[in-house]
Structure formats: structure tokens, C-alpha cells
């Protein structure tokens, strides 16, 4: 078991005031099998009351609204979470099927065939998945700034580079194409930086985390915030407001191991 201290900050800057700003923040570690949040504190600026909301994927989050004109929104959250290597064994059939961001392209299915040829069998177990992840990691480059939050797995794969979100999307697309249920996870990893994304794959009756960005299996230092079919379902923060403004979002996340 690991005890982790985390901090999450999000700042949204707007170039002119907006109003009736509704937002959802889902930066509280998920209460799930093997993960329990010991302490948690979340604040926003401008201040507003937050109410706890739930969605259809089992994610919890805070809903808030700022009605008066404002030109920035800051969210800070911190807490301590315990992570154990206990796996979730609930499978929902929706994770078998393609979702909007993970529709496989001919290129993606070609890549899967290549890996299967190399293996000499379909990707069906952990060994195969590790090979698949390794080949994807070798093929796809980590380059920030070339893809956006709207990039699909097919677009990212065609471009050949992207960020953790794209790695996760492509890996999920490959798994589902191979008949293996997979889902998208947004969360935090040790160190300082932004939020991270990886995939959970249904493997021998349980969900196991695969991090294709780092070409590694997910361990007890990964803090899971949300999950869903792809990025859209698992968005950590989203919102909408009245007003025409350019926005800039900055995210800072930090995780340290305690004890």
C-alpha cells in the first residue's frame, strides 16, 4: 500500500469577463477498489458553494456556478490518498465498443495486424498487451502541443506524435479492435506537472492499468481521478459560461509519496 499526498491546481484565465459560469471539477481521487481518500480539501476562487455530483460512469465531482462577471477561475485541491493493488472486477459492456474518440482507422487496424503477426497470435493476454504497448510506445512520439483535446485516436496515430491522452486513446482503440474491453483513465502520477492519462484493460477478469506513455504497468503510485470510454467522459474539469472570451487554462499537479 502507498500513501500519497497530492495537490492539484487549475487556473482558467479569460481575456474579458464572463458570467453564469457553470463548471464541474472532478479532481477528487475516485473512491474505488484499492483507492481511498483519507483527506481532501477543494477551494475555488471566486468562491462559490460546491455540490457533489455523480455521473453515469461512476465518477464523482463538484459542481459550482459563478454568476457574477469574472475573468478567472482558480481551483485548488489537496489531500492524502491510500492506494492498494486491489483490482476492480466490475465490467460494463459499453467498454467493448468504440467511442467517438477511439474509432479505429485503417492505419490503426494495420498496426494491430502487424503486432499480431509478430506475436503469431491475437493479443489476448497480458504478455500480448505488453508487446502491443511496447510497439505503440516505440512507434508514437511524445510531443506536446501538436494535438489538442479534440484529437481522435485516428488523427493522433496518423500524425505519429502527441501526448498521454493520445497514447491512451490509441491503445484503447487497439484493445477494443482486438476484442478486449478497455477504458480511459485520467489521474495523477508522482512528480510535478500536469494530469496524466492511461488505459485500463480488461484482463483475466479484472481491470489492469496500462500506461502506454511510459510503457509501464500502472502501480500503486498512480492516483485515479475519473474513468470513461474516452477523454470526453473522463474530463477532469469542464464548464461553460456566457460571454465571448478567449481562454487559457493552466494545470499544475504534484504527487509525493509519504512514509
Amino acid at each position: 500500500m502507498k500513501k500519497l499526498k497530492f495537490r492539484y491546481e487549475m487556473e482558467l484565465k479569460l481575456d474579458r469577463p464572463v458570467r453564469d459560469h457553470h463548471f464541474r471539477i472532478r479532481c477528487k481521487p475516485m473512491e474505488a477498489e484499492g483507492q481511498h481518500c483519507e483527506s481532501f480539501l477543494c477551494r475555488t476562487w471566486p468562491e462559490t458553494t460546491l455540490s457533489l455530483v455523480e455521473d453515469g460512469f461512476g465518477n464523482h465531482g463538484f459542481a459550482g456556478v459563478i454568476r457574477q462577471p469574472h475573468d478567472s477561475l482558480t481551483v485548488t485541491a489537496e489531500g492524502i490518498v491510500c492506494v492498494k493493488a486491489v483490482l476492480d472486477t466490475q465490467l460494463h459492456p459499453m467498454y467493448r465498443f468504440v467511442s467517438a474518440r477511439t474509432v479505429p482507422s485503417a492505419q490503426i487496424s494495420g498496426f494491430l495486424r502487424e503486432v499480431e503477426q509478430e506475436l503469431g497470435r491475437p493479443v489476448s493476454d497480458q504478455e500480448g498487451l505488453l508487446v502491443l504497448m511496447d510497439r505503440l510506445h516505440g512507434r508514437f512520439l511524445y510531443v506536446p502541443g501538436v494535438t489538442s483535446v479534440r484529437t481522435t485516436a485516428a488523427e493522433a496515430f496518423a500524425g505519429g506524435c502527441g501526448v498521454c491522452q493520445d497514447y491512451a486513446h490509441i491503445f484503447i482503440s487497439l484493445c477494443r479492435l482486438g476484442g478486449i474491453p478497455a477504458r480511459y483513465v485520467a489521474g495523477l502520477v508522482p512528480g510535478e506537472g500536469a494530469t496524466h492519462a492511461w488505459a485500463e484493460v480488461w484482463d483475466q477478469g479484472a481491470w489492469r492499468g496500462y500506461d502506454p506513455t511510459h510503457n509501464a504497468l500502472v502501480d500503486e503510485t498512480y492516483i485515479k481521478l475519473t474513468h470513461g470510454r474516452d477523454f470526453v467522459d473522463g474530463t477532469v474539469d469542464k464548464g461553460c459560461f456566457l460571454g465571448y472570451a478567449y481562454q487559457m487554462q493552466q494545470i499544475y499537479a504534484k504527487v509525493e509519496e509519504l512514509e
Partner: protein
């Protein structure tokens, strides 16, 4: 295969009862069965009044245009409003026939409701292998965002519009279920109102069930699921295809017609903001906005016509949404195939109303059948609605048939094929003659504390003599539907 019923169009002869003209229309194959509904009404002297309605046709249509009984269509990205032409020759359904339809429709909608509660809950029907998961969880209509939601009183399908056709052998067949936002009830409502004014005699001399209770039925449904507060009809606005209906139903049912910006969420409750700033809590939203635009924080984030946070309020049980979001999974054209199985599974009964014979390209056996008999089948794309994505094999050239076969083999989950039902023609007035045209019936089944079928319905007809597609978005017209009380 369908053979066009070639009947000579007959002239309306002044002074001659319309019934005579009409009865003779059918004399070619006039089994007693075939003309009974027509005759029963004309014998009671209705012919004369029917003629009165024909005489008033122009005036009625003019009034409808003035009231804004229109249908909007987006073509080439432009909004066109067109009149929804009214034909005065009503469809007549006998009391016995309606009683049969009522039983069948009530049963069907009850089963569909059980199905929706099951799919967004325990999913027993999938676990028991009655319906393959592919048809549910890869359906566009399935919304995982709605997983685990228990709507007030566990009702999902408050207002169902079930499309039926009557075959030449008098057998009724279900064409499709519409459980999302079925529109159309307002058209027979206003038609009845105007025809009653044009010819009061018709309605005093005949035993026609009054259909002006639809608004009351709608109010009962909204009240039954209301979580405390007012009832509103939520419209996306003036440029929606069915705006007339939204305003008319709101006015008639005593609900407030709200635009998206009139509603807002606070403290997990939904409120309506009045013109002068007062806030009223909302208990039921009869929303005429599609699921994907309902809440930008839950569905389509770019939606400008949604109410942010409304889904959270709904999930918490603090507001009723009519109909429940996510219902599209039950009216998917692929899931349609399984409705009789649902009736058996949930209610332990045999389905009273039949589906049109349907083949699922998903199953290999059915697919082979489709490929072999494509030229006599009608193929439907499960992801399309409103009469789009419907192809008749008989209308395709050899090459096009081959192309279609390839597409079906490539994406079998996307297509269903059905036998073309040779459905009866109803007469419509064209100029000073009556001509037979294909028509279907949309029956409205409302579920509040009980499930009831509205004793009327929208009869839509195709104005094109060779077309089977009667959707209003394809330029058809409509008739009133008379249900006889005895």
C-alpha cells in the same frame, strides 16, 4: 411485392353523397371487411358531413396557415418552413379495432418501459442472453451518461409515438417506436378543433370519440411525475421544426413554454425565471430538445440550447424529464427486432401487435437472406430517422444493388431489412377528385400513473403516388384520425 392499387379517381358530384363515390372506389376487391369502416360511417349520414368538410378544406388549411401549423425543414443548411397540408377525409377506426390496438400498444409500451429501466439498471435482459449486447451498447441511442438514473416513478417513456400501418389484409403492423421526442399530436388536435367549427354536424351525428382530451392527458402525465414545482415545455426556440406544436401543447396543457435561457439550476434544483425576475421551481420538464443538446456539461459541450446542470438535478430525482434521456436505445431500428422478445421476457405475454417481418444483417442467416432477396426488401439504416436512410430494393439498379450489398456486408450492425408491407391506401382530396395514397398512423401512448392510448392519432400520407415514405419531413400531409365510440 406491392402492386399499385389502380383505381380511377372519381369526381365529387355535387349533391351526391360522398359515401357512394368512396364505396365504389373499393369495388374492385371489395370484401366486406375492406369497406366496413368507410361504410359504417357513411351509412350513419356522415357522408354528407364529410362532404361539408371537403368543401371547407381550403378554409381549414388557410386557418391552419394563420395559426402557424407548419413544419420546418432544414435543406442545404437553410431553414424552410412549409405548411403541413391537411386532408379532410379522416381515417376511421372502429371501436372494436381501437380496443384491439389499445391492448397491443399498451402492452408494447409497458414492455419498452421495463426494457429501459432494465438497460440503465440491472441489464438482466442482456445477462439472460435475450438481446445481444451489441445491439444495445453500440447503439447511438444508448447514453452511458444515463447509467444508474432512476427517473420519478421509474417511468422512461412518458409519451410514445408508435407508427403503425394497416396491411391490405387488415392486419396492423408496427413500423417503428418513437420514444425520444415523438411529435405530431398537435396536428390532429387543431384539425379536430377546426373541423368541428366547419361542420359541427359531423361530430354530433356520428359517434366519434372526442380527441380534445390530449392536453389533459399530457397534463396528467406531467403531474404524475412532477417532483414539486411547475410544469414547463422546453423548446429550443422559434426555428425548431415543431415549434408550433411546442407552443400549442404548452398553451393547452397549462404548462409554461420555456426557452433554454429561462431555466437555470441552483442548489441542485431547477428554476424558471419569470419575465419580472421571480423564480419558480420546476417539477416537470416536457423537453423538446434532443438528448445530446440538453446539458452541455453532460452531453454535447458545444450546445447553446441546453440547460447546464439539468442532468445532475434529474439524476438527484429533483426534476422529471419527459421523456427520459437515453430512450433512443429502445427505439433503435435494430432493437425494434427484439421488442416482441421483450414483451415475452418482461410481461410473460405474447405480443399482440406484430412487427413487420424484419431481418437483422448482424445475424449471418438473416444477412444471407437479405443478400438473396434484396430486390424485394426495404433496407433501413438504423442510425437515421425521419424517413432518411430508407432504400427500397425494388427501386435500385443492378449496380446500386451490388453496392448496397457490399455496404451491408461491411457494416452489418448498421442495417435492417424488412418485407415491404402492402399497406392500404386512404383516399385524399386532390383538386376535385379523390385519389388513393399510402398512409400510416402514429398512435400516442402516454404513461403516467397508468398507460393509456389517445383515442385519435396522426395519420400521415404521402402525396407522391409511388412513395411509401410518409414522414412529414419528406413533404407529406396529414389527416385527422377518428375513433368511433361504438
Amino acid at each position: 411485392m406491392y402492386i399499385t392499387n389502380k383505381v380511377k379517381a372519381l369526381r365529387f358530384i355535387p349533391g351526391v353523397f360522398f359515401c357512394i363515390a368512396n364505396a365504389s372506389l373499393h369495388d374492385a376487391e371489395s370484401s366486406r371487411e375492406e369497406v366496413y369502416s368507410m361504410l359504417s360511417i357513411y351509412k350513419r349520414g356522415c357522408g354528407r358531413s364529410m362532404r361539408e368538410l371537403v368543401e371547407h378544406m381550403e378554409g381549414i388549411n388557410r386557418l391552419m396557415a394563420r395559426y402557424g401549423v407548419k413544419f420546418g425543414i432544414y435543406k442545404h443548411n437553410e431553414f424552410h418552413e412549409q405548411l403541413f397540408p391537411f386532408d379532410p377525409l379522416a381515417r376511421v377506426i372502429t371501436a372494436a379495432e381501437f380496443a384491439f390496438l389499445e391492448r397491443g400498444l399498451t402492452q408494447r409500451v409497458k414492455a419498452l418501459n421495463c426494457f429501459l429501466a432494465d438497460i440503465y439498471g440491472e441489464k438482466k435482459i442482456v445477462k439472460d442472453g435475450v438481446i445481444p449486447e451489441d445491439f444495445i451498447f453500440s447503439s447511438k441511442g444508448y447514453l452511458p451518461q444515463c447509467e444508474g438514473i432512476k427517473p420519478p416513478k421509474n417511468i422512461f417513456s412518458h409519451i410514445a409515438g408508435i407508427d403503425l400501418v394497416q396491411a391490405k389484409d387488415r392486419e396492423w403492423y408496427i413500423l417503428e417506436d418513437n420514444l425520444r421526442i415523438p411529435s405530431g399530436a398537435s396536428y390532429p388536435m387543431i384539425a379536430r378543433e377546426l373541423t368541428r367549427q366547419a361542420s359541427p354536424r359531423t361530430f354530433t351525428a356520428n359517434h366519434i370519440v372526442d380527441n380534445r382530451n390530449y392536453a389533459a392527458m399530457l397534463k396528467e402525465v406531467m403531474d404524475a411525475v412532477n417532483t414539486g414545482g411547475i410544469n414547463v415545455v422546453l423548446t429550443p426556440g422559434r426555428y425548431n421544426a415543431a415549434f408550433f406544436e411546442h407552443s400549442y401543447l404548452a398553451e393547452r396543457s397549462g404548462a409554461i413554454l420555456a426557452m433554454p435561457q429561462d431555466l437555470f439550476v441552483e442548489d441542485n434544483r431547477l428554476y424558471y425565471r419569470q419575465y419580472h425576475g421571480r423564480q419558480l421551481q420546476v417539477g416537470t420538464v416536457y423537453r423538446r430538445i434532443s438528448d445530446e443538446y440538453l446539458d452541455p456539461l453532460c452531453f454535447e459541450p458545444d450546445s447553446l440550447i441546453g440547460v447546464p446542470g439539468i442532468m445532475d438535478v434529474y439524476r438527484s430525482g429533483n426534476v422529471a424529464l419527459v421523456n427520459a434521456p437515453g430512450n433512443g436505445v429502445a427505439d433503435d431500428k435494430g432493437v425494434y427486432y427484439f421488442v416482441p422478445h421483450m414483451v415475452k421476457y418482461y410481461l410473460g405475454e405474447e405480443a399482440i401487435l406484430k412487427n413487420a417481418p424484419t431481418y437483422l444483417a448482424f445475424y449471418e442467416k438473416d444477412r444471407n437472406f437479405i443478400l438473396e432477396h434484396l430486390e424485394r426488401l426495404v433496407v433501413k439504416d438504423v442510425s437515421e430517422a425521419g424517413g432518411y436512410g430508407v432504400v427500397f430494393g425494388s427501386e435500385l439498379t443492378k449496380e446500386k444493388l451490388e453496392d448496397l450489398k457490399k455496404v451491408i456486408c461491411r457494416e452489418p450492425r448498421r442495417f435492417i431489412a424488412q418485407e415491404v408491407i402492402d399497406f392500404i391506401d386512404l383516399d385524399i382530396v386532390e383538386g376535385d377528385t379523390a385519389v388513393p395514397r399510402k398512409a400510416d398512423l402514429r398512435a400516442f401512448v402516454l404513461t403516467g400513473d397508468t398507460t393509456r392510448v389517445w383515442a385519435s392519432g396522426l395519420t400521415r400520407f404521402s402525396r407522391n403516388p409511388d412513395s411509401f415514405v410518409v414522414n412529414s419531413s419528406q413533404g407529406g400531409g396529414f389527416k385527422d384520425t377518428w375513433v368511433l365510440s361504438r
